[in-house]
């Protein structure tokens, strides 16, 4: 009797592929979600040949970078007072934009970009009266990139940085934090974040450590990264505290390592014995491996976070000797130690509270002074340290926030959310140093030259890691072109 619906049906060969995949690639931390694969069996049309496989853990083309350190400033950094100084703001301070030569920035056609997802939002409004620069600026490095006086240390790395001054996004509330990470606004639903895609796409480079790490507070953006790729691709939250660095990282009953070892060995032994009763059970094999990894991680994570192993000079370089820079400095130093040990994607969020510490609707000067003080030296320390250790070439560092801040003033001394033009910078990982890419207009309102949506940053990072986002796509989860973005070729070496 032929198949009643499909006479051409034949069993797919994917089972073999899957098993082979399991034994060949092995599993990174949180790496291979067998379940995702098993569930993906479901996607095979009974009548179709093998159309799709999960990624094999190898890059699609030769990568330039091995690791990514993603620095994200929650709340929104003022571009004009950091990486895109605009003296015109001071020149026309207090004037309505319509009374200046720059009035065309408020041409309604140009403002159409903004999407209203939250009706009646008090913030995210256009602010008409120009607010003068709250800080001076100067040229840094041989390249002479202009940056503000709030970032003297970062500025000293100017010749290693590619500053992209022509970013834009579409949503002017803090849901844009999610937008920056997944390409879709928080209210659009759930989508995997960039780190999750990287984790999904690439195999492990270190089997003793989690491959996708998150440090610091996440404010507005969802705490889960994997979404439809599965929870196996969520970032593992890490605390820079060797005593308690990760959830369930140590025995709640106070077992010693030796005692645990006997237990783990027994589990491994019994599982292996079971495998003779259930030959060829891929889940059993995967679980044996997961236990081995788990056991190793218990020691490797705290070891990595043991910052006291670093020299005094290194501590100073990251600002660990100063209470103002210590917390973020510790995260930066930990990030370098993770990179050294082959961790793929490390995201560090800075700025807790409210919608993020950088959200300077009022008191911008005080706010940004304090926040830049906290991150400037540690970030520069990280860049210099990576460089001196020869790691910067293979490590891509990105500095971003969900949007910029308005050229106009909010209240008496703040700036509102601004989506039409803001800055992001990158360093290392095959990105050119000492360059500025793109530009905003003279008051930093609109990105006018080489405009880039947030997913272009994703595309650039994926490109440097040797990944093509279209080849990572999951059947049934069609992504829009804008989700993929386009790599910014001009800034690459």
């Amino acid at each position: 009797m032929p198949h009643p619906i499909n006479p051409n049906y034949q069993s797919s060969p994917r089972g073999i592929h899957r098993r082979q995949f399991l034994s060949d690639v092995g599993m990174g931390f949180g790496g291979l979600a067998l379940g995702a694969m098993l569930a993906q069996d479901g996607i095979v049309r009974a009548d179709a040949p093998l159309l799709w496989q999960p990624p094999d853990g190898l890059p699609h083309f030769a990568p330039k970078a091995k690791s990514v350190i993603w620095l994200f400033m929650n709340g929104g950094v003022s571009q004009a007072e950091s990486f895109d100084p605009k003296p015109e703001l001071t020149k026309y301070a207090g004037k309505s934009i319509s009374d200046t030569p720059h009035k065309d920035v408020q041409n309604p056609d140009k403002l159409k970009l903004a999407r209203v997802t939250v009706i009646n939002d008090a913030n995210g409004q256009q602010r008409n009266k120009l607010y003068p620069l709250q800080v001076g600026f100067r040229k840094y490095g041989q390249s002479g990139i202009e940056m503000s006086d709030w970032v003297p240390h970062i500025g000293s790395c100017a010749d290693d940085m590619a500053v992209i001054r022509s970013m834009y996004t579409t949503d002017d509330n803090h849901g844009a934090q999610t937008q920056f990470h997944s390409g879709r606004h928080m209210l659009d639903g759930e989508y995997p974040t960039l780190g999750a895609w990287v984790h999904y796409g690439l195999g492990s480079i270190n089997d003793n450590l989690p491959q996708f790490i998150s440090m610091g507070n996440r404010e507005y953006w969802n705490a889960k990264d994997g979404h439809y790729l599965g929870p196996a691709h969520d970032a593992i939250p890490i605390r820079v505290d060797p005593k308690n660095p990760l959830d369930y990282g140590k025995s709640a009953s106070g077992l010693t390592e030796d005692e645990q070892r006997i237990g783990f060995d027994l589990v491994g032994k019994l599982n292996s014995l079971k495998a003779t009763e259930y030959p060829g059970d891929p889940a059993l094999t995967a679980r044996i491996k997961a236990y081995e990894l788990a056991f190793r991680m218990q020691t490797s994570v705290p070891q990595t976070l043991n910052l006291s192993a670093e020299s005094k000079g290194t501590h100073e370089m990251y600002g660990l000797d100063d209470p103002a820079t210590r917390d973020f400095g510790m995260q930066m130093l930990a990030a370098r130690r993770f990179v050294e040990r082959g961790v793929r994607f490390i995201q560090v969020q800075h700025g807790a509270g409210g919608a993020g510490a950088w959200d300077a609707h009022g008191g911008l000067k005080e706010n940004h002074t304090k926040n830049f003080k906290a991150v400037d030296k540690p970030i520069a320390g990280l860049l210099k340290d990576l460089k001196q250790r020869g790691l910067l070439d293979s490590t891509l560092v990105i500095f971003a926030s969900e949007f910029g801040r308005t050229p106009g003033t909010q209240g008496s001394d703040g700036r509102d959310h601004h989506i039409y033009g803001f800055s992001v910078w990158m360093a290392g990982g095959g990105v050119q140093g000492g360059i500025v890419h793109g530009a905003t207009d003279e008051i930093g309102f609109h990105a006018v030259e080489n405009r880039h949506y947030v997913t272009d940053i994703h595309a650039t990072i994926l490109h440097q890691l040797g990944l093509d986002s279209r080849r990572l796509e999951v059947p049934g989860r069609k992504r829009l072109d804008i989700d993929h973005g386009k790599a910014i070729a001009e800034i690459l070496t």
């Binding site: 009797m1 619906i5 049906y9 069993s11 994917r14 073999i16 949180g30 790496g31 291979l32 067998l34 379940g35 098993l38 569930a39 479901g42 996607i43 095979v44 049309r45 009974a46 093998l50 939250v118 009706i119 759930e190 969802n222 599965g230 990760l246 959830d247 369930y248 990282g249 140590k250 025995s251 709640a252 009953s253 006997i262 237990g263 783990f264 027994l266 032994k269 019994l270 599982n271 014995l273 079971k274 009763e277 259930y278 030959p279 059970d281 889940a283 059993l284 995967a286 997961a290 236990y291 990894l293 788990a294 056991f295 991680m297 279209r470 796509e473 059947p475 049934g476 989860r477 069609k478």
Partner: protein, 1128 residues
Amino acid sequence: MFLRLTDSQTPSALRHVLLAIVLIVGCGGLPSRAQEVVDYQRQIKPIFAARCYACHGALKQNAKLRLDTAALAIQGGKHGQAIKPGDPVGSALLTRIIATDELDRMPPEGEPLKPAEIAAIRAWISQGAKGPAGEKPERDPQDHWAFKAPVRSAIPKVASAAWSKNPIDAFIAAEHAQRKLTPVPQTDRRLWLRRVSIDLIGLPPTREEMDTFVADQSDDAYDKVVSRLLGSPQYGERWGRHWMDIWRYSDWWGLGAEVRNSQKHIWHWRDWIVESLNADKPYDQMLREMLAADELYPNDMDRLRAGGFLARQYFKFNRTTWLDGAVEHTAKAMLGLTFNCAKCHDHKYDPISHVDYYQLRAFFEPYQVRTDVVDGELDPEKNGIPRGFDSNLKAETYLHLRGDDRNPDKSRAIAAAMPSFLSRETMQIVPVDLPVEAHQPGLRSFVIDTHLKLAEQRVTQAEQALAQAKKTLIEAERVAILAAQAKAKAELEMPKQAAAQATVDAVKKEAKTLLRDDFSVAKPDVWEMRGGNWAYAKGKLSQSQSGATRTAIRYKHAPPTDFEAKLKYIPTGGDMWKSIGIAFDVTEQGHMVTAYLSAYAGGPKSQITYKNNGADVYPPEAAQGRKVDLNKSYEITLRVRGTLMNVLIDGEQSLAYRLPIERKNGHLEISTFDAMAQLVAFELSELAEDVVLSDAASPTAKAKDGPLSVEEAKLMVALAQKALAVATLQSPSIKARAAAQRAQYQQPVPENLNALVAEAVRSERIAAAAQAEENAARAELELAKAVPAKRADAQKKFDASKVALEKSQQAIAAPGGTFTPLVGSLKMFESNLESEASRRAPFPTTSTGRRTALAAWITDVKNPLTARVAVNHIWSRHMGQPLVATVFDFGRKGALPTHPQLLDWLAVELIEQGWSMKHLHRLIVTSQTYRLSSSNLDAAPATRQADPDNHYYWRANPVRMEAQVVRDSLLLLAGELDLTQGGPSIPASSETSRRRSIYFVHSHNEHQKFLSMFDDANVLDCYRRTQSIVPQQALALANSALATSMAQKIAQRLTAANAALSDSDFSRAAFVTVLCAEPNDTEMHAMIQAMAKLSESARLNKRPDPLLHARTSLVHALLNHNDFITIR
């Protein structure tokens, strides 16, 4: 991950297709040279199918062109031939796919075809554009299998007797025979028992159940087990959780306290699901109630809980996002259709048009969400049933151009209707006249009763407060006399300073002190250490273990019911909460009340907490934020009289609280939670009768903690009298208003309507005037108590209260015509723009009937999808894989069923058996197919080779436990599981709760941490659970307090059953208990060896009870065994 290829595949996906084909076939690939022969079937047709068929195939024939056969492509359409064989340049198709102008280019959406694809098409045309002889065009979409009603096929004849008893087996066996597959033997009885127990009730069998079943050799042993399980109340919880996944159950979430998604108290819907399943409520009936209980059963409070399905969809900020959720997930969950793909354009694969999407939305357009009052609670913040109801009867639905809600096509309103390919008859939508209690829920008898009951309680409380105030007055007078006497005496006998002290001493009665301990020496006869790391050192008692667990020292004697306890201590550390306090009424059943001080950095505070039904309750009114520093000394004074508690911190009044639960006889403890501390002193006495406790509920709640003057006490009595008067007036007013409100909606209008309204108005004015009197009395008391600096202010308030009183008294004479109707439901904000006033507008008296019509259509026995989709979900959860792999897409792009006749047979069976899900469960789990082993070991090599992924059920599929099952099983095996059912969700952070996991708060923002490690359901979309295997899971099972403490309890239970067990006996018993299987010799050997090592290491580490320690470790290892977390 499932198939949802409903939009056109992107070219990159197509590239994968081609790539994959190349990989599989292992030859050729795309032609690099034109002369290579292009294979139409392999290389060309997939491109057309992916990129062209949606508009030029069976679904649509734009420009009258079809490309689904080579011949049709050559034949062309309105614009002539699309392909001229041998002439690529003259072929319009090629011209269009290579056009650079986006307006001309085909396909119009998505990226252009890739150069390699274009090259292949060009070469194919050059080579004559040949297709196979007799190539058939795509079939009419209406012919798609899932769009035609299921038909019960004849049950196949099967030779084997074992495989012909159950129709399921006959279908499965027929397929085995057809494909020459040999099924493996049955699984071990114990493993079957474990499988079926976890499948049906989500819990593994106990040892007793195992032994009973293994010993039961009767013919119906298996059936008996199934009957027991299906009759168990735990069945509803197990399958409730499955359906909650599919129906996207979620507790509310938002930002801070603001509800943005789903609703508070949505757990009523969860309880309805559990109860409905236990009662075997027909599946179709469940769907009807979820979609339209408000129209079908407008006053049936039990069924109205089903309206949580609609309430769940709530989203505050965007109505379109909200309704998109309702449309998408109603269609996916109930119909297996991806309607969502037609939001922006016509569906690419199914005959669902862009308009159809909005026609479906129109069913939901009028609905909003409200919370109906439940018996005994009038405050919707505290409890109530969230549900949908038609609020905006006139709301129009418009098509959104390209799916953009800013761009509605207002030229025509779209009416509710189902897509024509599925509804051959016109749907009847009949508006529903609602009974008065449905739109005036304040008139529901239990709501009125609740109003009255609360009014009575208020009277009782006011009476008690008055009695208390009178006592206070007597006491104040007595104290005044004593003081006067003492003063007179002292003035005669001693100098002035001492006189004051003597006055105080004379007043203070000596209460019996039961214990004074400065912790300088251990007192084992007084204190019992419970958990933690308590040690006497340097003349103090310290607790030095941090981490989120409770530790305590317990007073070994029975404490008095009414007592005063004083604890002086120094907090020294802790990871986070740093809570230290005094607990009383501590029972082994988990009852406990604690007053504590927490140095938690995120919000230090004093707090009273109690446990109710296993859940920790932290009443917000029993908390006071206050600064608490480490390494500083604090004194907590706890005074308890009956249910009234007063907490003083360093002698200053901090909390006054009346427990809403009954007192229990229990222990008194000093307890810590995640806190290190030094205890400095403790004192316990009976509570002296003359100690005046502040009462949170009394009108003098804020009264100062000290003796009152006689004048103040008199004013308090006066105030209490006024308060009682107010309370007494409530009932008549409630009754009068209820009568008038009912009369207003009565038809015909009653003759006495005006009189009733007048009485309602009058009663309300009188009550208001009494309230004004109470306010004035309070203001007078405040004035009397005011310190000189505040006197002017207090005088102003008192004057204002007099004016208000006068006004309210005048209002009795001129009462006007309106009264406050009784409220029985509160509408949720439609959006962040809705005002408080508009949400309180009266509800419409009719409902559109649209959702009733939708429900009727979905549950119509002629609907080809509903039963099939349900059967597939149920089958999948029993058998580890669905019959239709794309569980929410039964459309043309979805997977074909592996066993279409079986699927249809089961669908018809479900319908004809009255949609009884229990019937279906029984049929499946009593089948031979369900009994197969999950091992490949005895499988015939040919079978393994022919069907390596077991699509045809020649063995069972091992499945990983869902998150909830992992936790519940741990608790059950340890004898710790609390089987209390229903009620409000338990906070996700409550790690010590022993309730079933289904009861934890589960929302987008909040997850129970342990559960989230094991792929807990995503509340946004979870038609199948993921089954990942990651090291975090190993860490959670290896290191969590839950797993380790349950391991110990299991070891203790096994030891308690037989203390004299040898290592070997213990290992065997543990293995059987945890894994439900007998260990073989090598496994025994491994365990005995490990036991020896564990015992040795326990001795080396000086563990208090080395044997128990070793046994715990062994059990713990077994809990980490693959076959614990796997359902074999």
